[in-house]
């Protein structure tokens, strides 16, 4: 512990896990310390939509998937989910969900839709549809 914490100045015996320490399981422990999605370098937008791959096998046979990976897969099973919804549903920070989704994407478990780039965004037909849809709510 001393080797990893040169600033360990706290008195011996005092509790180190005070309120400032935050959650006792550091969120990035779930990602093996990674803070970015894997080599594909994809950044998932909050509204990127995540769909289970049709051919995705059950989760039981892959021991490399952690419980959080499985939780995300289960959340996507009933219907397509946005990254933001997955983070709220799994009660994980968005950054952690992005890393885990990167794993799932690499394993072919999910497909992730990219939001429309801003330059193409307001296709007039779609905007009209949105306005009419809002009026009809």
């Amino acid at each position: 512990m001393n080797a990893q914490d040169p600033d360990a100045r706290r008195e011996q015996g005092s509790q180190w896990y005070d309120n400032e320490a935050g959650p006792l399981v550091r969120p990035y422990a779930m990602t093996g310390g990674r803070t970015r999605p894997g080599p594909t370098g994809v950044t998932f937008d909050l509204i990127a939509l995540v769909t289970l791959s049709g051919a995705a096998p059950g989760t039981d046979d892959d021991s490399t998937l952690g419980p959080e990976h499985r939780a995300l897969i289960e959340l996507c099973r009933p219907e397509t989910q946005s990254v933001a919804e997955l983070a709220a549903g799994a009660d994980l920070p968005v950054g952690v969900v992005r890393v885990l989704l990167g794993d799932l994407l690499e394993r072919g478990r999910v497909t992730v839709s990219r939001p429309v780039p801003p330059a193409h965004l307001p296709d007039e037909r779609i905007l009209r549809e949105v306005i009419e849809g809002l009026r009809a709510l």
């Binding site: 909050l46 920070p93 968005v94 992730v112 839709s113 307001p122």
Partner: protein, 201 residues
């Protein structure tokens, strides 16, 4: 790259999600507005400062790592199967500007909520969207007891670019919230068309 997934990215039939931001000062009613129009109870997502804030927070000389959690509230409106609007209440604290940058990427537009008793609270949001050319409307949330101002007074007080819509609203009211969103989408469409014409001519 993940070229094998590019079809899923760009296919015409793929589901489409649009993003609208709701910004404004602390306590102005952002989450209330999101909740009034959302079909789901507003959800909360959290982002960790230690990941995204590295280049922003000057931590020189700080010998312990602080992980601050920043919350965002969001809601959803399904227009039809395969077309949804997502509304994000942006964090009110100025400290978390960096989150807005990411949030605003690809956003259809923004609603800047204003309270006429504390109009200056929405200045940062107005600046932010003006500088990034993100279409926005100013929605004046009518709090009980606040003096009623006209939309034009507010537009002048905020020194808005000409054409930026100002809507008087009640953030608690679903129909009022819907009207704000409709005005925004109409305005975003006009802005985009104007920009397209500019780029051609």
């Amino acid at each position: 790259m993940v070229s094998e997934h590019s079809d899923a990215f760009d296919g015409d039939n793929s589901a489409l999600a649009l993003k609208i931001l709701v910004a404004g000062g602390f306590g102005v009613g952002k989450t209330t507005l999101v909740g009034a129009v959302s079909e789901i109870k507003p959800l909360r997502t959290e982002e960790l400062l230690s990941e995204v804030g590295q280049s922003v927070d000057d931590t020189d000389g700080v010998d312990h790592k602080v992980t601050t959690t920043v919350a965002m509230d969001f809601g959803r409106i399904t227009i039809r199967s395969g077309l949804s609007l997502y509304l994000f209440g942006t964090p009110g604290q100025d400290r978390f500007w960096f989150l807005w940058d990411e949030l605003s990427q690809g956003a259809l537009g923004a609603v800047v909520l204003a309270d006429t008793r504390r109009l200056e609270d929405c200045f940062p949001a107005v600046d932010f969207f003006e500088h990034r050319h993100i279409p926005f409307v100013v929605a004046v949330n009518c709090f009980p007891g606040a003096r009623a101002y006209g939309a034009e007074d507010v537009a002048r007080a905020l020194d808005l670019d000409q054409g930026t819509p100002v809507v008087i609203c009640d953030a608690r009211d679903r129909d009022s919230g819907k009207e704000v969103l409709i005005r925004l989408v109409e305005y975003a469409g006009r802005m985009h068309t104007a920009r397209l014409l500019d780029s051609v001519g």
